[in-house]
């Protein structure tokens, strides 16, 4: 792309807001942001995205939305997740940009959604402090991080893989690693790492998909293996249950946590989407309410009219994530949920929508392993 003066100016402004946001994300220690602060940032990002992304601009114009008429984040037109299967939303081209793909749908891999991340550093900034705040919490020692997801270099397109790699880089004590590769999870490696940590009293942070932990539960039960992981350990499962696997997270964790010597306060559910760079977290085992950083806001909408629904009612979730500077901040999902004073309760994918998600990819991986 040739660099016209207008492009150069846009580029400068994008870099400026990216740097500004990254600093704000890194400085975050759990405080709430005012509506005014979120609105102001959302409007700035929206104006840049409107200018930089031709497809998004067309979409907004067809809905009568432009930066002159947007006064707050609630006015910003969200893009349906289905659109990510058809259009690359990007505000910039950068060396070192990332490409994440969704896990596919019932129509197969050709229908996977794409999310291009031109500003990888901003993504890094958006995920570290919330992980520290919601998952590591007041634990003062850096734990041993063990990921049950293959490293990003192996999958090449999984946002979860990239995120867990980065958390290992950012927070893991030496020895932290992924225990999975293309062929599946190396259970012996996982278990021997847990055994050493148990003996050396090093807290462990286990990270993987809900489906992978379910596979581990079955294995531990079958083999009669038990652990007594040191205090300060935590288990973070992600993905919930997708793809109609019939898996019950609560039941699975009720079996798994005692086998590891953990209690329910040491279980954290992570909620993330390929189309969103920020995550939400919930502590506990029974569909815990989720909370995220203040640069991510969520609305519950009526599925037919798309009007906001009052707190406490169920509807379709629509997220606005300021970390998505490189694509679009408003993402209209096909997920059902409810917001209360305790947080967001995720109620699963709408049954009419095709199942997908990172759980599915790992389920396939598990199936390969079990059959092989």
């Amino acid at each position: 792309m040739s660099m016209t003066p207008r492009n150069a100016d846009l580029r400068t402004r994008l870099t400026a807001i990216t740097t500004d946001l990254a600093e704000q994300f890194q400085a975050w220690r759990g405080e709430a942001w005012s509506d005014a602060r979120f609105d102001e940032l959302a409007c700035r990002v929206f104006a840049l995205q409107f200018e930089a992304s031709a497809p998004y601009r067309k979409y907004c114009v067809s809905r009568g939305a432009d930066p002159g008429r947007i006064t707050g984040w609630r006015d910003i037109p969200p893009v349906p997740t289905a659109a990510f299967r058809r259009v690359d939303f990007r505000t910039a081209h950068n060396a070192g940009e990332l490409l994440f793909l969704t896990s596919g749908t019932t129509r197969g891999l050709d229908a996977r959604g794409r999310h291009i991340i031109p500003f990888a550093e901003l993504y890094r900034a958006s995920l570290r402090e919330p992980f520290r705040y919601f998952v590591l919490r007041e634990r003062n020692t850096d734990p041993l991080l063990l990921s049950l997801v293959p490293p990003f270099a192996m999958s090449g397109d999984s946002s979860l893989g990239w995120m867990l790699d980065d958390l290992i880089d950012g927070f893991g004590m030496p020895g932290s690693r992924s225990v999975a590769d293309e062929s599946g999870i190396d259970w012996q490696l996982l278990e021997s790492a847990c055994r050493s940590a148990e003996q050396e009293e090093i807290p462990v942070c286990l990270m993987g998909t809900t489906v992978a932990f379910s596979g581990w539960t079955n294995r531990l039960q079958r083999e009669g293996t038990r652990f007594s992981l040191p205090s300060g350990s935590v288990l973070m499962d992600t993905g919930g249950v997708k793809g109609g696997s019939g898996l019950n997270r609560t039941r699975m964790l009720s079996s798994l946590l005692p086998l590891l010597g953990l209690d329910s306060a040491q279980a954290v559910n992570e909620f993330g989407m390929t189309e969103l760079l920020s995550q939400m977290y919930g502590c506990g085992i029974e569909n815990p309410p989720l909370a995220g950083p203040p640069w991510l806001r969520t609305q519950v909408l009526d599925p037919v009219s798309l009007e906001p629904r009052p707190d406490g009612s169920e509807g379709i979730l629509c997220h606005f994530d300021l970390a998505n500077v490189g694509s679009v901040i408003g993402v209209l999902t096909e997920d059902r949920g409810r917001i209360s004073s305790e947080g967001l309760t995720w109620l699963g994918r709408s049954p009419g929508a095709p199942p997908r998600g990172c759980s599915l990819a790992t389920a396939e991986l598990l199936a390969v392993q079990e059959n092989g």
Binding site: A54, P55, T81, A82, L332, E334, S350, G352, A353
Partner: protein, 472 residues
Amino acid sequence: MWHLPGLELDGTPPETAGIPIPDSSDLDWHETSTASGHQVRAPRLSDRQASLVAESVRGAALDARSARTHFEVLHAISSAALRLSDPFDNMGREAELLLSSELGWSSEAAREALAGMSREWTEHALSALVESEIGNSSLLEQFVPDPTRSGRLRMAVGPPLVFQVHAGNVPGVPVTGAILALLARSGVLAKTGAEEPGLLPLFARALGEIDPLLAACVAVTWWPGEDSPAAFARWGKEAGKVFVYGGDSTVRAVRRQIPPEVELIVYGPRVGLAVFLPDAPVDAAALLARDVCAYEQRGCVSPRIAFVIGADPLVLSDRVAAGMEAEAARVTPPAVSEAEAVALRSARAECEFAGLEDGSTRVSGPSDLSWTVLAHRDSGVDSVALPRAVWVYGISSIESLETLLGPFEGRIQSIGYAGRKGEDDLARLAARLGVSRICALGDMAWPPPDWRHEGRHRLLPLLRWTDWEPRP
């Protein structure tokens, strides 16, 4: 306790003649709720209860063979079925309310669907069906000399019991299924679909008022799709033939339940298509809209995808949209469910974004999502089963259509078309693809009664033939 082993709407047992549930004192229930929130309950039959019900239905069917002539059966079942579509009959009003309640349809939509299905329930239509498939209805009750081989006599009669599993949500199909079985002189054990469980019990009630013996040949119940209760296995074992109307997962579930020697006849999911030939008249778009909206697009006879040859699909889609709007004004569309709304929005978004850069797509439809037309200038086959939603694709020729549709061979129910240019080629393509009917647009939803559903006979699969070759 004296009612159909079947269904209660809002907890009220139907006041009806029917089959008593044996040992019913400690019965427990399956429950579901209809589109408009009414509770439906059906008894959870134990193995013994299911077995006693089967025995009672088999006994009634065998009694009816000697006690009723074919014409008495024909007359009784047709009269009972036609009551369901008679707006001046209390049963007809009940049927209309029932469909509205179950499916969330407007009363016009329910009336129109009942009127449509009743076309194949008249004595004339049923006689024509018998005539076209076996030639002579006397074969159903006695040995008749075979005109094709001298000295041979033939008779055709169904097994004493058939089991019909209706997974689908197409109203009327379970009633027609029972009617065909009764014509074959079989007793019917039926499991209806969760979305439309009520019309078959209502038919059995109507039949009970006309001929209690014939009504005792029908037992109908329902259970949740994921369940496989004792009755499932028992009825599968007791029946001489099992009919499944539903998707692959239902078929697999049924196969697991029935002994290998029991014949399984499957009516699987299929899709309806429309083709606009190069000389299609302008008003054909409105006919497409009419076919799409018939039965609220629940049947595979309604088209889901339209292919346009030699014209701009986007321009045509505007006319289809006008037709859809007119249909919505004529028959109020049901409110879409939350899940449908999400899937419709997703489909609309995908279509819109696919053409965002080059203007090659067009999305039409109101914001309440009650109908949707998704047009693509390029060819394609993507579509989703959603209410009053039709995909329109451009295609260069009938040859290209053959390449595109090749993978769907055997999965296409019917093709409606407009225009004459190339219709011979299109008809031959339909035959190669195993399409069971190709007809003019506007007639897709109302096939004649002797149409070969899925390209097969309808009564014949129920029958077992006996050839008698006496010593000359």
